[in-house]
């Protein structure tokens, strides 16, 4: 249990030291050396700045701007993660993800709760949300935005709230198909 946390936090601290301009957030993933996160004071959803995450050079590896912490105070509760994201030219892959890691959860797996939402390759600010349960088995609650390949994304106004157990679970995907005729 301690080990899993240590791995995550160890990653976090080293990445933070390398580009520690966004307190509490760090760059991770197999391609983390290929991406850079900076504060952007001109493109933002609210407040004084957003996080801008982009490739530096050509890459086909995944990189993510993320946060991780011990979820003890959320244990047994249902939470809603919401985030505003804007994307530009992310022709490889761009996503918002969340997960609760248990002690034995693989580092590259989906965890025991949480989700992953694919985002459009280019879009203006849009709000996305995941609603999931944090069980007592969770040793690390994590969420972030990721890119694989070229592109830029902006992240702003992230919230993690405890919600009522009546709030429907949501994996961030639509409940019905859209644009099946491609005319949209």
């Amino acid at each position: 249990m301690q080990k899993a946390l240590t791995v995550v936090m160890g990653l976090g601290l080293s990445a933070y030291a390398a580009n520690g301009v966004i307190p509490g957030w760090f760059v991770s993933g197999g391609g983390r050396a290929d991406y850079v996160a900076t504060k952007d004071t001109s493109v933002k959803k609210s407040g004084t700045s957003s996080a801008r995450f982009t490739t530096q050079g050509k890459t086909d590896k995944y990189g993510t701007l993320m946060q991780a912490f011990n979820p003890q105070r959320y244990a047994g509760k249902r939470v809603r993660l919401s985030a505003w994201v804007k994307t530009q030219g992310a022709t490889g892959r761009v996503d918002l993800w969340s997960r609760v890691q248990a002690a034995n959860s693989p580092g590259d797996g989906p965890g025991i709760a949480g989700s992953l939402t694919r985002l459009p390759e280019t879009s203006d600010w849009k709000r996305y949300e995941h609603v999931f349960d944090v069980s007592a088995d969770g040793v690390s609650l994590q969420y972030g935005v990721g890119l694989q390949g070229p592109g830029t994304l902006w992240l702003d106004n992230v919230k993690l709230e405890v919600v009522d157990k009546n709030t429907p679970l949501s994996d961030g995907s639509p409940t019905e198909p859209v644009n099946l005729d491609f005319e949209d």
Partner: protein, 181 residues
Amino acid sequence: MTRLYLLALTFTQLGAIPTGWFFEGKDRSHFEVTLDAKELAAGKVSARLRSVVPDAKYGALLQTVNAAHYTRQRVRFSAMVKASDVDGWTGLFVRVEGAGQKTLAFDNMQTRAQKGSFDWKRLEVVLDVSPDARRIHFGLGLSGRGTAWFDNARFETVGSDVPTTASSTALDGPTNLDLDE
């Protein structure tokens, strides 16, 4: 009972991934994904998936829906598909996913793979969505060099009289226990 989702929305831009759809594959650089206003089965545009290298790995244009509205039902995903010089194979696919991204039901038409060149025809995949399903992914896949178009897709629930196309359907009960089949 049958629900149809045929949305008549307005045409936007060519040269981009259609709204609500995503590319998934080993190597995005092997594929071009665009809208096409010339090759049509219906409406003003179709979606085109073209692999630009000879040994392109499997790539797909897909979307994902929450399974909540479809659990305990049989769903049919169908679309008009056209192909040109596909030297690998193409086909529709549906993957029903449970907790931990586990695959509960899957059919990518590999056993009835479509190859070469053919004009518009309707292909379909029919699968059961089990009670523990979380999400359903569906779309068009392409492997190898070639071009596939797809248009006028439908995602609908169907009755149990429509047979499933699952390549790995769960058995109804003990089967072939004498191992003579």
